[in-house]
């Protein structure tokens, strides 16, 4: 098998998923709206006091990003499972992990990037100092793909199940904890004017690791789920 045909398959899947997302764009907007609404609940529930909000902001935005990603994960394999496209992927001559990587990349482009672009707006709503906004965006850029990659394993394990939704959060959220800890901390540190390189390196290492291991685990999980 030539590398050219493999990359062709990768880009075909990527393009296919982006086209699908574009044609069902109203559904794609929902996780974003969820992201905004959850964050706007905090001032109402806790306090509109800028000092309070500022201290909560990094954690709140990151938890909301986590939940919004979780909400969007289900769509990654669901429709492919229902219409048999997933079976065809497993029967493809290409390694399933590469196809999975294409799908995960599409998922991140469609949900992770919009979250990233919305973040500055939400930073304003939460009275975050402007000095921490770049940190927020960098952590979302490094952490977002990890969420999609690790989430894909969870979706792959639950895709054939009738009530997979709640189970998915139980499987995936504990695995998100390291990302949450380091990302939220980096943003807080940036707001306080402290160094954040260490946290970013850690996120980078996590990204490299999940990039290599998660597609393999996802491919194995898909084979098992489709039996």
């Amino acid at each position: 098998m030539s590398e050219a045909s493999l990359s062709n398959a990768f880009f075909t899947i990527l393009k296919r998923d982006l086209t699908l997302a574009y044609r069902t764009r109203t559904e794609m907007v929902n996780p974003l709206l969820f992201f905004i609404i959850v964050i706007s609940l905090f001032p109402l529930a806790v306090s509109p006091d800028p000092v309070v909000l500022r201290s909560l902001a990094p954690g709140v935005i990151w938890v909301a990003a986590l939940l919004a990603t979780l909400l969007s994960l289900d769509s990654m394999f669901r429709s492919d499972f229902d219409d048999g496209a997933l079976e065809q992927m497993l029967l493809s001559v290409h390694p399933v992990s590469v196809l999975v990587l294409g799908k995960v990349l599409a998922h991140w482009l469609v949900t992770g990037i919009p979250l990233l672009l919305l973040a500055p707006l939400l930073a304003i709503l939460m009275h975050m100092p402007s000095s921490s906004v770049p940190a927020l965006m960098i952590t979302l850029a490094l952490g977002g793909p990890i969420l999609s990659l690790v989430g894909a394993i969870g979706v792959a394990l639950t895709v054939g199940l009738r009530r997979g939704g709640v189970l998915l959060s139980l499987l995936v959220l504990p695995l998100y904890i390291p990302v949450l800890i380091f990302a939220a901390n980096a943003v807080s540190n940036a707001a306080a004017g402290l160094a954040i390189a260490g946290q970013l390196y850690f996120l980078g290492a996590l990204l490299a690791m999940s990039l290599t291991l998660a597609p393999l685990a996802t491919a194995a999980a898909l084979r098992i789920s489709l039996r």
Binding site: T12, R23, D83, L91, S92, H94, R227
Partner: protein, 222 residues
Amino acid sequence: MHLANTTSVKFSMSQSTLGISVKGLTCRRDDRGLFRNLDFDLKPGQALQIEGPNGSGKTTILRILCGLTLPTEGEVFWNGLPIEENRLEYLTAMDFIGHAHGIKSELTPLENLQVAMAMANAQPNQSLKAVLEQVGLRGFEDVPAITLSAGQCRRVALGRLLLSKSLLWILDEPFTALDVQGQAQVETMMVDHVEQGGMVILTSHHPLALKDGMLKTINLRP
């Protein structure tokens, strides 16, 4: 349709191990034995029809033959080797259309076929449009599949078979949702394929117009 003759045999039939064979296939689901100790083999130029009432495990057999589902016991061989061992060769030679045929309803028939070609790493031997015309979808190339009827979607899926050069077709109820003309067309496709040295495994009650010796039948009794 064109008539097959001996010179147009696409695939070699020289070796005796060629083709798909199954040994001691047993499948149990939730305490219920679906089938036990199934043995059969299929050589190029033969078709296998699997019959049986609903719930007798027809779809399960096909999924086991594809390597999607694992049998409780037994093994499937392709050209003499277990399919897990020469997976790549097997997947290259095999095409499966399941009950859910893998046509994305948001994509057009043309886009669907393009994706299928990239997945199979196949160079289409004719233009995609020509294939769509052949399966009776002329004029529907660029509309989303969601606007097509169930039968038309199935025709798109069948178009995959015409594009790829797969030796073995595994088809789950290929006549479902098709009109009389469509059924006749699919039958012609399958008969042509077998007569040119291909193999077809299908579940259906529809009798196939194949010569003696080319069609095998398995009846699954519950």
